[in-house]
Symmetry: C2
Subunit: 289 residues, 2 copies
């Protein structure tokens, strides 16, 4: 297994080969201009009682009404005192406000079904490889998307964040959110509004104990991971404000990264896939500065 990556550079140096850069090397060497700042209005911090912090990036270009709602919820302190209430293995982690809390004024209780998002006029960068579910996949403004040639939509990859809902015509309002923690449940695409992704802290969310109840809900309140607070980064004092960047999916560095992900050339691989699933092509993100 890729323990070898550690010794790869040394091995290739000994062999005298000129190695193709690895995906990670391409990311590390990408010029500053290839990184796009995430607006502070799109960054959400989730502070957990256990001391952990999770950072989300919202996707207002794809689900504007839901994202506006989520910002309103957060600014009203909606999730403060809430908890992670559900962890279903190979599926989702889900969090909610304290039970019985009334919806804050200003929140839209019934937003439209934003299951497909135009993302304004942002250009679509085709991934260039076949997909199991959609006619085409690719990226728009830093986001993994699928397309049928007419509409585009965010896809349910590991780490993507969506809006819990009950049965139609209920489309969810953002009062309860989930993040994908397993193999991409792509059958959920266009059935739920996706509103963002986890930029930081997935390794914490995905390692939470699985719930023993139906659908992975915890059966006892004591099993839940309490949420101290959620905040929009723009509302935090400068010193406490996280700053993140995502690799510009229209940059040359991103194109090179995609190519290297599809055709691994380091000493470990005996056969390059020559293919890439869009959910194995989630745009790299980094803390700024």
């Amino acid at each position: 297994m890729p323990r070898s990556l550690v010794v790869m550079a040394a091995a290739l140096a000994l062999a005298g080969a000129a190695p193709a850069p690895t995906p990670q090397q391409i990311v590390d060497r990408a010029p500053a201009a290839a990184w796009a700042d995430v607006p502070a209005e799109d960054l959400v911090t989730i502070t957990l009682r256990d001391g952990g912090q999770v950072v989300l990036q919202l996707a207002p270009a794809f689900a504007p009404v839901h994202v506006a709602n989520i910002r309103a919820f957060i600014r009203a302190g909606w999730f403060d005192g809430g908890a992670i209430v559900r962890v279903q293995d190979n599926y989702v982690v889900q969090w909610a406000a304290a039970e019985g809390k009334p919806l804050p004024p200003g929140a839209n209780p019934t937003p439209p079904a934003e299951y497909e998002g135009a993302a304004g006029g942002a250009p679509f960068r085709p991934l260039g490889y076949r997909d199991a579910y959609a006619a085409q996949t690719g990226h728009v403004a830093g986001w993994p998307v699928a397309s049928d040639g007419r509409a585009r939509w965010l896809v349910h990859c590991y780490g993507m964040v969506g809006v819990g809902r009950d049965n139609p015509p209920d489309t969810g309002n953002g009062a309860e959110l989930y993040a994908v923690i397993g193999h991409a449940p792509r059958h959920l695409d266009r059935n739920i509004a996706l509103v963002g992704r986890v930029l930081d802290g997935m390794e914490r969310m995905a390692a939470l104990p699985r719930g023993g109840g139906a659908l992975g809900f915890y059966e006892k309140a004591s099993e839940r991971t309490p949420i101290v607070s959620t905040r929009i980064a723009a509302d935090l004092p400068a010193a406490a404000r996280p700053a993140w960047q995502v690799l510009d999916t229209n940059s040359a560095a991103f194109a090179q990264w995609v190519g290297a992900r599809a055709n691994r050339g380091d000493g470990f691989f005996v056969r390059a896939a020559g293919a890439l699933d869009v959910c194995n092509a989630i745009p790299p993100a980094r803390r700024k500065g």
Copy 2:
């Protein structure tokens, strides 16, 4: 989110609809003849110091030399006193023997590269849906496979178990194993010998804390989850022997399950995918009796 599944049956009853069976209902109603016993020689128990137990199913038809080796390792007590040494988020959990332990006699230190497996003459059941990586995917004798029309190979789906190795020509020998805990890293297909899957206990393996070192290796021995013992089920006394069954991938019930997974028809979905990734079609397994 699918909290709705809980109320779905009631909602449909109220609406007077005759609902198509859900994937789970198809599994629950499958006749006894649709279930294939897993041979006790192919079942491995991993008993963890924390009290947990994991059950693996080996795939001797695909990687016979590696599986023979793994059985020899287990019977020599190789993993007893070992530990889970690596947990890399959205990638793999890996376990190994105690450091410095000499290979037991009888183990083949350099098995061949069993990256493609014919699985004897077992019939190939095409999944019937497009794949992002291979010309074709489907199932052979209860296993998820891909094919290029000539060869067949096991695929790196969530829960599949493979053999850790360093760089070629080292192909690994089974002394160190890993299980996939994230989105399918299909670029590893045909680069590593896959030898089985986790039948039980994935929710425990996947919830282990991620390692802070390179590639998710734990930096301190104290972070590791110790392995008390691993055993082949056939060697255990009858009372302690796990018994498992996998849904026969050539059965009518399996075909119905695949169709229902690709075309969700319950009250939650507003749009069926009409597609299915092979890694979202891991054959259901159940404890026998």
